[in-house]
Symmetry: D3
Subunit: 284 residues, 6 copies
Amino acid sequence: MSSEGGPTSPFSTLSISHPTEAITHVELHRPEKRNAMNRAFWSEMVDCFTQIADDSECRVVIVSGAGKIFTAGIDLMDMASDVLQPEGDDIARTSWNLRRIISKYQETFSVIEKCPKPVVVAVHGACVGGGVDLITACDIRLCTQDAWFQVKEVDIGLAADVGTLQRLPKVIGSRSLVNELALTARKMYSDEAKNSGLVSRVFPDKESMMAGALELAGEMAARSPVAVQGTKMNLIYSRDHSVAEGLQYMATWNMSMLQTQDVMKSAQAAMEKKSPKEVTFSKL
Amino acid sequence: MSSEGGPTSPFSTLSISHPTEAITHVELHRPEKRNAMNRAFWSEMVDCFTQIADDSECRVVIVSGAGKIFTAGIDLMDMASDVLQPEGDDIARTSWNLRRIISKYQETFSVIEKCPKPVVVAVHGACVGGGVDLITACDIRLCTQDAWFQVKEVDIGLAADVGTLQRLPKVIGSRSLVNELALTARKMYSDEAKNSGLVSRVFPDKESMMAGALELAGEMAARSPVAVQGTKMNLIYSRDHSVAEGLQYMATWNMSMLQTQDVMKSAQAAMEKKSPKEVTFSKL
Amino acid sequence: MSSEGGPTSPFSTLSISHPTEAITHVELHRPEKRNAMNRAFWSEMVDCFTQIADDSECRVVIVSGAGKIFTAGIDLMDMASDVLQPEGDDIARTSWNLRRIISKYQETFSVIEKCPKPVVVAVHGACVGGGVDLITACDIRLCTQDAWFQVKEVDIGLAADVGTLQRLPKVIGSRSLVNELALTARKMYSDEAKNSGLVSRVFPDKESMMAGALELAGEMAARSPVAVQGTKMNLIYSRDHSVAEGLQYMATWNMSMLQTQDVMKSAQAAMEKKSPKEVTFSKL
Amino acid sequence: MSSEGGPTSPFSTLSISHPTEAITHVELHRPEKRNAMNRAFWSEMVDCFTQIADDSECRVVIVSGAGKIFTAGIDLMDMASDVLQPEGDDIARTSWNLRRIISKYQETFSVIEKCPKPVVVAVHGACVGGGVDLITACDIRLCTQDAWFQVKEVDIGLAADVGTLQRLPKVIGSRSLVNELALTARKMYSDEAKNSGLVSRVFPDKESMMAGALELAGEMAARSPVAVQGTKMNLIYSRDHSVAEGLQYMATWNMSMLQTQDVMKSAQAAMEKKSPKEVTFSKL
Amino acid sequence: MSSEGGPTSPFSTLSISHPTEAITHVELHRPEKRNAMNRAFWSEMVDCFTQIADDSECRVVIVSGAGKIFTAGIDLMDMASDVLQPEGDDIARTSWNLRRIISKYQETFSVIEKCPKPVVVAVHGACVGGGVDLITACDIRLCTQDAWFQVKEVDIGLAADVGTLQRLPKVIGSRSLVNELALTARKMYSDEAKNSGLVSRVFPDKESMMAGALELAGEMAARSPVAVQGTKMNLIYSRDHSVAEGLQYMATWNMSMLQTQDVMKSAQAAMEKKSPKEVTFSKL
Amino acid sequence: MSSEGGPTSPFSTLSISHPTEAITHVELHRPEKRNAMNRAFWSEMVDCFTQIADDSECRVVIVSGAGKIFTAGIDLMDMASDVLQPEGDDIARTSWNLRRIISKYQETFSVIEKCPKPVVVAVHGACVGGGVDLITACDIRLCTQDAWFQVKEVDIGLAADVGTLQRLPKVIGSRSLVNELALTARKMYSDEAKNSGLVSRVFPDKESMMAGALELAGEMAARSPVAVQGTKMNLIYSRDHSVAEGLQYMATWNMSMLQTQDVMKSAQAAMEKKSPKEVTFSKL
C-alpha cells in the first residue's frame, strides 16, 4: 500500500496513492528524516487536504508514515528561522508576525477537521510533538503494538500551540492523564493509548494495521457519502456546542440531507437483506 | 417486574408499572416487533415523561425493553411516510416540514433529559439506531452480558439526527471510538461498552440486571429528592457550560435549595449513624 | 516529606513545606479531625494558593493529607451555622447571604485552578465530599491502593455546590459513572478510579505515592516554567471553549511566550542530547 | 379592525380576527380590566401562538389591545395565589414550584419568538410591566403618540422575570437608558421610545396606527413566506450567537431553502418589473 | 454634595460621602491633577467598591469627579514604570508580568459591575481614556452640557485594555460610531453622547446634574433592594448570554427572590395607592 | 480620488489606488452595471483583501463605488446558474453544493472583517442587497445625503445569507428597525441611517464624502498601527464574546503589544505636545 517510489508530485513531503477509487492514502514521506515536519510539509498538508475536500471521488482518507516511525514531529532545523528568529522591528511587531505564523501552522491540521471525509490515521513507531497535533485532528486513530506517543513541546520550552492542548482533552477521557502527558512530556505506549481511548485499536505490526485501516476505510467508503460526511461534520459541530445547539443544527442540516435518494436506496437494500456495500451511491 | 399483560392505557407502546411507590418503570412494550419505534411511540414517550416530570410521587425512573431485545430502533415501515415521503409544494417547503418532524422526534428523547428525576436504562439483547439515541439521553446505563449497541443510521443513508451524534461524544471518553461507531455502524458489545464507559455496569442476564437496576433506583429514591433532582439538573447544565458558568448557576440554584429541611434531617440522621433510607423526605 | 510538627504559621489547617526549592507541598493538616474542612480551612486555602501563585520560586505544588485519610470532607459541626442557619430577614435575604457564602466556598477550590503552577494531588485512604471538589480542581491525581472516593453531598440532602458537579464530568470519561457516583453517593475504589481515569496512577501505599508525586513534580519543575505554566493555563482555557476558540487564544498567547529564551536553551540542550533537567531556567 | 363582539372562542382574554386571509390579528381583549394579564391569559397566549405557528394560511401576526390602553400588565389580584402564596412543604419545595411557574410564564412570551411568522405589535395608551415583556418578544413595535411604557416590576419588589431584562437590552441601543428604565420604573413616552429605537414608528392615533400596522403586515404577507419566515428565524438565531456561528447556521439553512420555487418566481417578477404583491406563493 | 475637605481616609484619591443613609457618593478626588488615575487610584477603587458591595446600608452609588473635569484618564507619569518598563528576564517573562498588571487594572473597573448596587456616574468637563473605561462599567450615565468623551488610548500607541473595547459596543447602539471613536481618538460631545445613548440625560451644569443624580439615586434607593439589585445582576448576566440562557438563569434566581416579603409590602402599598417611597424595606 | 482609467489589473471589478502611501482605496468598478456583484467580484474581493491584509505599507482601507450608485447588489444574470440552477444528482447533493457556494460567498465579506486594517466605506446613491452585506462588514460607514439602503433579499424569495442578518443587528441599535428593514425590503434613507447609527456621518455629496473619508482614514493612518489594528481586532472579538471573555483575551493580546516602541514614541510626543501625526511608526 506504500508508494515505493516516494512522494508523487506536486508534494515533496507527502506521497499520495489510491488503494481504491474512493480511498486516498496520504503518506508522510521523508523517511530518511523520520518524517520530520519541515517548512514544505506545513503548506503541503493544506494543499493536499484542500484538494481532497474538493475531490468528489474520494470518500475516506488514510494517513500514515513511511519508514521506521510515524513522525519525529517538527523539523527544528528547517523551521528555526520562523520560530526561533521571527522578524519584527520591535517586540510587538515580532509578536504580530509570530501570531500569523502560528495561525498558519494551526491551519495545517485544522484542514483535516474541515475536510468532510473521514480521516483514519495509522501510527507505527513514534509519534512525537507535532505528530500528536496531527493525529488528534483525525477522526479515527489506530496504532501498532510498538507505537508510542509524546507531547514533546514542553521539553523545548513552549506550550504546544497547533492543536494538542485544544484537541487532546476532547479526544480522551481522563483529564489527569492529559495533564500528565502535556506537562511532563512522558511517553505513552500503545496499551495506555488503547486504555485511555486515544486509539480505538492496536495491531501487532504495521502490515496488519494498514490492512485493518484499509478495511475500516472500505466500510466507510461503501456507505452513503451523504450519511458518512454529514455524520463527521455534525460530530465535530457537536463537540464544540451544547447538546441543544447540536440538535438544532442537526435538524437544520437534515431537513435537506434526508431528501437524498441514498435513504431510499439504503432502505430498499436493507429490506432485501443486502449489505450497504452492494448499493451504489452517487458521488458527493 | 415486567408488566405481563402488556401496555397499560393510555399507551400502546409503553407499559408503565410501579415497583415501589417512588419508582416508575417504563417498559418499551411491542415485543412482537422487537420494540421498534413506531409513530405512536414517538409521541407516547413525550406524554409519558411529561407525566412523570409532574408526578411528585415518582423519584426515579427505570427504562427497559420487553421481549427478546431492548429495541430494534426506528420502525421504518410505520415511519416511512414521514421520513421518506414528506409533504411540500417544493423543496424548501418539504425541507421545512422535515425540520419540524425532526425537531419533534428530537424532543422525544430530550424529555428524558428535561425530566428532573434520574433515569436508569437497562439494556438487554440489541440496542439499535434510535435505541442509542434513547439511552444516551438517560442518566445511568446498565446492560446484560449479551447486549450489543449499534449506531445504525449511516447504514440507511443518513446522519443520526435525534441525539446520538450530540450526546454519545459527551457520554463516553474515547472520541476515536465514537467516530468509529458512528461512521461504520459496527456493533459494540457489552465488554467494550463497559470499558469505554457507555454503561457503568454489566450483568450476567436480564433478571439480575433488573434486580440491580431496582436496587440502584432504590438508593436514589431513598435520598432527598431536592438533592437528587438538583444534582441531575446541575450535572446536565454543567455538561453544556464552562466550569465558571456551571459554578455561578449552581450557587444561584442552591441559595434556595440549601434551605430545605432535608439537609437538617439528613445531617441529624448522619450524626445518629442512620442510613438515608431511614429518613422520610417530603415529596417534590 | 510530611511536616511532623504540624501546621506552620500562618495556617492552622495546612502545613506547608518545600521538598525542593521549586516544589511546594501543601498538606491538609488536621489529622485528629481526619482533615475535615472547617471554617478556617476554607479561607486558608485561598490565602495559601494566592501566595503560591505569586511565589516565583515555586514551580509545582503537591497536595496531600496528613494522618489516616486524605479528608473526611466538610466539617459539618464547625460549618453548621453558615450552612444550616444562614442569616436574613426574609427568605430572599437569607438566599442572598447563602449565595455569597457558596460563591466564597467555590473560590476556595477555584484558586487551585487559577494558580498557574501545576498541582499534583496525592490521595490515600478516604476522599469524601468536599475532598472530591478539591481534587477535581487539581491537575494530576494520584492515589494509593486503599483509597476510595465518595461524592457524599446527596447523602446530606444537597447537590454538591463547590465544584464536583461542574468538574467531575470534565475529568473522567464515563458520564454514566459520574451520574451514578453523584446520585447515589456510593464509594469508588482505587481500581475503578484508575480505570475511569479519575487518577492517572495507583501506588501500593502512601510512602511510594509520595515518592512518585515528588518525582512527577520534579519532572515538571525541571522544565521551562514558561512552557509548563502556559500549558496548564491553555489546557484549562481549552476545556471551557470550542477548539477554534482555544486555537485562537493559544496563538495570541504564544505570540509573546515563544520569544522566551527558554526555547533556545531547550533546543540547544536537545541538540546536545542533554536532559531538560540539566538546563537552568529563570524564575517566572 | 377590532372584533367588536369581544373574544371569540375558545379564548376568554384574546380576540382573534383575520383582516386578510394571510394576516391574523390577536387582540388583548379584557378592556374592562385594562387588558390585565390574568391566569387565563398566560395559557391562552401559548395556545393561540401554537395554533398560529401551525396555521399555514397565516403569514403575519398583528398584536394590539382593545379598549383604552394596550395593557396594565399582570393582574395581581388573579395571580396572587401563584406568585405570592406558592405551595411547598419547605423553602426548597416552594422555590421548586416557583421556578416551574416562572418558567411556564416565560414560555407565554417565548412562543411569540418561536413562532416563525413575523409579529407586529401596535401599542396605544399604556404598556406596563408584563406588557413590556410581551412587546420585546415581538418583531416590530409601533405605537401611538400617547403611548407610554413602564418596566414596572421593581415597583412591586421583584426583578422582571418573564423577558424584559433579557430582551430589552437587545432591542434598544442605549444601555444607560435600559438600566434607568428597569431600575427606576419610570415611564418612557413615545418620542423617547422612537428615539431609543424601541418602536420603529409613532402614529398620531390608534386608528392610523392600526392602518399602518395592517399595511406593514400586508407588505410582509405579500412576500415569499420561505424568505420572510426564514429571515425571522435567522435574525433571532443571530442575536444569540457570534457572527461566525450565525453565518454557518445560515449557510446550512439556505442550502435547502434556496431551492424554493419562490426565488425563480420572484426573480422573474423582478425582471418583468412586477411587484412581489403580484406573485402568488404557496403556503408554508 | 462634594466633600470639600478632600479625600477621607483611608483613600488618597477618592472622597466618600453619604448624601443619604442609603446612597454612597464616590468622588474622584485629585482635582489638582485633573483626577488622573495614579497607582493608588487603581487599588483604592477595588477596596472602595468591595466595601460598598458588603455594606448593607448602601443601596445606590453615585460616582463623580472633583474639580474642573471628571478625569484626565491614566496618570502616565505615575504609572510609567508599570506600563512602560515592566520587569522580566526575557520577553516571555516581561509579558507574563504585563498580563498580570493588565488583569489587575481590569479588575479596578470590573468591581463596579460586580457590585450589586446600581452605580450612577455623573460626568462634567472631560472624560478621557481610562475615564471611558470607568463609565462604561457603570449602570447609568449622566453628563453636563460641556462634557466630552475621548477614547484616548490609540493616541498613546496602544489598544484600550481595561474595558472600553469590551463594554462600549454593548453600551451604545451604533457600531460605526464606536469604531470611529476608538480608532481615531476623536472627542465626542454631550449632544452626540445623548443621541448615541452613551448617556441617558444631559444637564446644563454640574450642580443640576448632581441634583439629578441624587434624585435618580433616591428613586432607586427607595425601592426594594431585593428587586433593584436583582435587576442589576440579571441585566448584566443577560448582556453576556443568549435570551434563552438569560431566562433560565432568571427563573432560578427568582425562585427564591420572589419569596421576599418586599413583594407583599409593595403589592399592599400599590393597592393602597402609596408610593414605593412610603414603604420601608429591610437591608440587604 | 477615483481611478479614472477603470479597474487596474489584476481585477476586473475593482479599481485599486493609493491616495497616500498608507491608504488603499478599493473602488467597486463596474459603473455601467451599477457595480452589480458578478461572479468575478466575489472572488476578486477575497484576493484583494488578502493582499491588503499582508501589505505592511497599508494602514487603512477606503471602499467606495464608481459611477452613479454604490452598488445594485448581486448581479442575478451572471450568478443565476450558481444560485438558481445548482448542480447535484439529488436534493442532498444539490444542497451540499449550495452550502459550499454560500460559504464561499460569505467569505467574500468576512475577509473585510478579518483584515486587521480599519475599513471605511463611503456610500452614495443606492446600496442594495449584497451592498448591505458588504458595508456591515466594514468598520466605519459614511454616506451622502442622497444615499439609500435596501435589504433586498426578501424581495427575491430568500433570506439574506452572506452577512446582513448576522451583522446588521450588531451594527445598529434598534431591533424593531432591523426587523422591519429585513422583513419588508423597504428603503432606508440617509437621515434614518444616521439616526439609527448605521452610518456615523452624512455628507452633502460624494465629493465632500470622499474628502471626509480621506481625512478620517488619514487620522487612523497617522496613528500607531499596533494600536489601531489591535483595536479593530479586539473590537470584533468583543462583539462576539462576553465582557469577561473579551477582557481576558485583551490582556493576553496586550501582554506583548504593550511592549511596542510606539507607546514610548507616542508618550514622548504627547509630553512634547506633538500630534500623533508628527511621529513616525514602523510598518506592521
